[in-house]
């Protein structure tokens, strides 16, 4: 316990801002993180989840059907599936932004009702507030949770340093590059020290090199905080390289096609070099076989429908 605490405070050790932050904003998270193996409050469980939307013409459109999978506390779970299969929809159900039409979404054994406690969400689209500075954006999380302004700003500075954005505190989002904006979003998501982290194609729009750097950073930060993660991606290599578990979804209406446990040892080290290990290639091949069918089916359907 003491050892883990030391590693958690490690990056900011000796900095007053960081110590303050740990005592206030992070207390609940840290107490829970002390032994993440039995942090039951971070277990995510979806069973039989169906989500329908009402189309403008009044018909019901089924986005996901009978989705069931679970994410253990502290586990890194990747979700892959063809476009439009309901991945983002599933995340909005876990976050509590939306309700399932059928089935249950449980976090820590409790049915999700309202915004889920201890959750952070990195959205698929840019969701930074354009009228706030980078610092203001990152400090929002603690401020909304009642942390004093001074402390919130101090820990926001610390998190910007951790994602490598020192010196950009007073910039506005539109003055940053796409990759930098994603870093800000990552800092804003992690500053609350979430026990659950939802990421919707966080690095989807980035070039390969930036993506690799950000993935490594994410793994480093995840190993310090150890939240349960649901990570949506189109990039199967990324999914296998990062995750403990990969969920493959079928083309829409999405349901779970298969779940693969990734037994690559941790810490994984660099995301670029793990790609060449035999076990990685084997897993990648296996999951790709399963995913390819769905991608082709989804593609055939969209092109078939439009023509």
């Amino acid at each position: 316990m003491a050892v883990r605490d030391a590693t958690v405070t490690g990056p900011g050790a000796g900095r007053p801002g960081r110590a303050d932050h740990a005592n206030h904003a992070g207390r609940a998270g840290r107490a829970g993180r002390a032994d993440h193996a039995d942090r039951a409050d971070a277990r995510i469980e979806l069973s039989g989840v169906t989500k329908r939307f009402l189309t403008p013409s009044g018909e019901a459109f089924t986005a996901t059907r009978d989705v069931s999978f679970s994410v253990e506390p502290g586990q890194f779970c990747a979700v892959v599936g063809p476009t439009g299969c309901g991945k983002s929809t599933t995340l909005s159900l876990v976050s509590g932004l939306d309700r399932p039409s059928e089935g249950s979404v449980r976090v820590g054994g409790r049915e999700v009702d309202g915004i889920t406690e201890g959750i952070s969400f990195m959205f698929q689209a840019d969701a930074l507030l354009p009228w706030k500075t980078v610092l203001g954006n990152v400090a929002m999380g603690p401020m909304f949770r009642g942390v004093g302004k001074k402390q919130a700003l101090a820990s926001a500075r610390d998190w910007l340093r951790r994602v490598g954005l020192t010196g950009f505190e007073d910039h506005h989002p539109h003055q940053l590059s796409g990759g930098m904006r994603k870093r800000v979003a990552m800092a804003a998501a992690l500053i609350n020290e979430p026990s659950i982290l939802l990421m919707d194609e966080p690095f989807g729009a980035l070039d390969v090199q930036t993506k690799a750097i950000m993935s490594n950073e994410l793994l480093g930060l995840w190993e310090q905080l150890r939240p349960s993660v649901i990570f949506i991606t189109h990039d199967l290599e990324e999914a296998v390289a990062l995750a403990d578990r990969v969920v493959v979804m079928t083309s829409g209406p999405g349901s779970v096609k298969a779940v693969y446990d990734i037994d690559l040892p941790r810490p994984r080290g660099s995301v670029q070099s793990i790609r060449f290990e035999p076990r990685f290639l084997e897993l990648h091949h296996q999951i790709w076989e399963s995913l390819r069918e769905e991608v082709q089916r989804a593609y055939a359907r969209t092109t078939g429908e439009t023509s």
Binding site: L97, I115, F121, A127, L129, P130, K132, T133, R145, H172
Partner: protein
């Protein structure tokens, strides 16, 4: 090796080209500015000079259409005759009265417009209940309300303030309402997940987002405030520029009307300038528009 040297040569070449481009750009911008300024002055000279000429030669009757030199003379009289400038006190008093009515009406209308706009934009139920009524009231020619206000509140400042406020309210309200409706769903969801309370969402997300719309409406709204104050004064008042205009009209003094009009234009332009300042301050986060960040 060879690639290295060509590369180096390239960069130095680009550097001098860059400085040259900057110099040419600065000169081009300066030349354009000069040209615009000259053309502007030209337009003023043609319009005012043509007017003066037409009334002097006799193509237009200065008795009906006024005359620039006459207007200038009238303006000097207004400002130099102290208490005798008008039948109801100094010209400054008239300006002060109208300005006070317009500013108070503007403030009242803008604040209530923003409050109602945000509330109805946030709450679908309220929007559904009040929506049709607002549309009806908006369809009424609201200037007519001035008569009712004068009857109800007398010829003091209150009816003018109210008329100005009503005119401003609708402009600001519809913009604030629309602005709230246009808040980015992702940003809203993000704030909610971060743990913002409904009040914090209004303060940190909804209002800043709608501010672009609200401030855009304030530009037109101040014009409406002045119109409200003037119409109120024409309908019945003891002081004010509207009364000056009405008196000048009744004594067949077009130069007086134009002189008052000129003063009102100066007031409106000053207000516009202040609102633009406010806009730059509040919306400093916005990326510069393409015209501001002009490419060479």
């Amino acid at each position: 090796m060879t690639t290295d040297t060509t590369h180096a040569a390239d960069t130095t070449g680009t550097a001098t080209a860059d400085t040259r481009a900057t110099g040419a750009g600065v000169r081009a911008v300066r030349r354009r500015r000069l040209l615009v300024l000259t053309a502007r002055l030209g337009v003023a000279v043609v319009v005012l000079g043509g007017w003066q000429l037409a009334t002097t030669v006799g193509w237009l009757d200065p008795f009906f259409f006024g005359q620039p030199s006459g207007i200038a003379r009238r303006l000097v009289e207004f400002f130099s005759q102290g208490q005798q400038a008008t039948e109801f006190g100094s010209f400054w008093l008239q300006i002060e009265t109208t300005l006070k009515e317009a500013v108070l009406g503007f403030a009242l209308g803008a604040v209530t417009g923003v409050v109602f706009g945000v509330a109805l934009g946030q709450n679908q139920f309220l929007a559904d209940v009040f929506g049709p009524y607002l549309k009806i009231v908006n369809a009424i020619p609201r200037i007519v309300l001035g008569s009712i206000f004068v009857v109800a509140f007398g010829i003091g400042e209150t009816p003018k303030i109210l008329l100005a406020a009503v005119l401003v309210f609708f402009v600001v309200f519809f913009n604030a309402f629309q602005g709230v409706r246009e808040v980015d769903r992702n940003i809203l969801a993000n704030a909610r997940v971060l743990g913002a309370s409904p009040l914090q969402i209004v303060r940190h997300v909804v209002v800043p987002s709608a501010l672009t719309w609200i401030i855009a409406s304030l530009h037109t709204a101040f014009g409406f405030a002045i119109v409200g104050a003037l119409v109120g004064e024409v309908l019945g008042a003891q002081n004010g520029l509207g009364l000056v205009i009405k008196t000048a009209q009744n004594s067949f003094d077009p130069n007086g009307v134009f002189a008052a009009m000129f003063v009102i234009a100066v007031i409106a332009l000053s207000a516009e300038w202040l609102i633009t300042k406010l806009e730059h301050r509040l919306l400093s986060w916005r990326p510069p528009s393409p015209s501001e960040a002009a490419a060479i």
